[in-house]
């Protein structure tokens, strides 16, 4: 458990919830809490009121490393013009049905 921060603003936590067994955790939002344990309890009260989850992860927002919006072109555009990477060039036999 991380040490509670007793002064100033509570840290921001990002919340991930698994809806049911077998699915992966999905980001559902964020909240403030004094420590990770309270963040899980707050997440339970804020995000699982309507039976949404079977598992909760919380991560301090500052621990997340994100790609920079400014790098968008270099990161994503090169994949745009490589249509052959999509599996749309195979003839699927009718017997297979819906895939």
């Amino acid at each position: 458990m991380t040490q509670p921060k007793r002064t100033g603003e509570w840290p921001l936590f990002e919340v991930f919830i698994r809806g049911q067994h077998g699915l992966s955790h999905r980001h559902v939002g964020s909240l403030h809490a004094p420590d990770a344990e309270m963040a899980i309890k707050n997440a339970r009260d804020v995000y699982t009121r309507r039976n949404e989850g079977v598992s909760i992860w919380v991560v301090e927002a500052e621990a997340i490393h994100a790609s920079a919006p400014g790098d968008k072109e270099a990161l994503y555009d090169p994949a745009n013009d490589k249509v052959y990477r999509h599996p749309t060039f195979f003839d699927v036999p009718d017997e297979v049905g819906h895939m």
Binding site: P4, R6, W10, H32, M38, K41, N42, D45, R49
Partner: protein, 252 residues
């Protein structure tokens, strides 16, 4: 009434959850932070949901054609059977959380015992409610420790709250002929039998919260027997029952 002791017992259970549920709901939109606001509202809703079950069964046992709503909104102060601690005003946030903690610790033990009741309806309601009470207790205990062992200001407020609340603790464990009859039939545990476990768990948490436990054993009483309530319950009911008082029979 053939089964007055059972009726009284169900009123005591349902009035505790109703009165505390209403008090906690008074925080809605006013709690110090958004997350606590939602958590308190959830707790209030859990308690009101439990009330629906306890008073619904009480109305059936009474057999006078009344409903849970009738019992909640059409009775006046002297017919309520909640313990006094729960009807007193919320005070500050620390007081509210500490009151919640002292009650949750008792409520979880009581519901655990009631889940073994010889009355299947009571056992069923208790088994459902104890899961909620267990969560309430986890949450309130953790917040009591955080505030008690927090800043000098939060510690001071929690100690003041504990000193104010302590004289209302004893009523939870008092018993009368109703309790004796229910215990003899195996319907409900004897209140005094819960005290040792309550003391152990509450003292552990309060010690961790660096709070000084008052030595005084004086206990206010009269709420659960209906002998005398504090003036605060009347004021609370004028607000809670306002709609039915202003527009008798209104429904939607």
């Amino acid at each position: 009434m053939a089964n007055d002791a059972l009726f009284q017992t169900l009123l005591r259970l349902g009035d505790n959850t109703l009165v505390l549920g209403h008090r906690v709901s008074e925080w809605c939109g006013r709690a110090p932070v958004l997350e606590e606001d939602i958590a308190l509202a959830n707790t209030a809703l859990d308690l009101i949901g439990q009330t629906q079950m306890w008073l619904g069964y009480a109305a059936e046992v009474e057999g006078e054609g009344r409903s849970a709503d009738d019992l909640a909104f059409l009775r006046d102060v002297w017919d309520f059977r909640n313990i006094l601690m729960l009807e007193r005003p919320n005070g500050d946030f620390g007081y509210t959380i500490l009151r919640q903690f002292l009650f949750d610790a008792y409520h979880r033990l009581l519901l655990t015992g009631l889940a073994q009741s010889t009355d299947p309806r009571i056992a069923e309601i208790a088994a459902k409610s104890v899961k909620e009470a267990t969560y309430h207790l986890e949450r309130s205990a953790e917040t009591v420790v955080a505030l008690g062992d927090g800043t000098p200001v939060s510690h001071e407020k929690m100690q003041t709250a504990l000193d104010l609340l302590w004289p209302y603790v004893g009523e939870m464990f008092e018993a009368d002929s109703v309790d004796a009859e229910m215990a003899a039939q195996g319907v409900a545990p004897e209140p005094a039998s819960l005290r040792a476990d309550w003391d152990a768990s509450v003292r552990a948490t309060l010690t961790e919260a660096t709070l000084r436990i008052p030595e005084d054993t004086f206990a206010h009483n009269g709420g659960r027997t209906g002998a005398r309530h504090t003036e605060h319950l009347g004021h609370m009911l004028t607000e809670m029952q306002w709609l039915q008082r202003a527009y008798p029979g209104a429904n939607w």
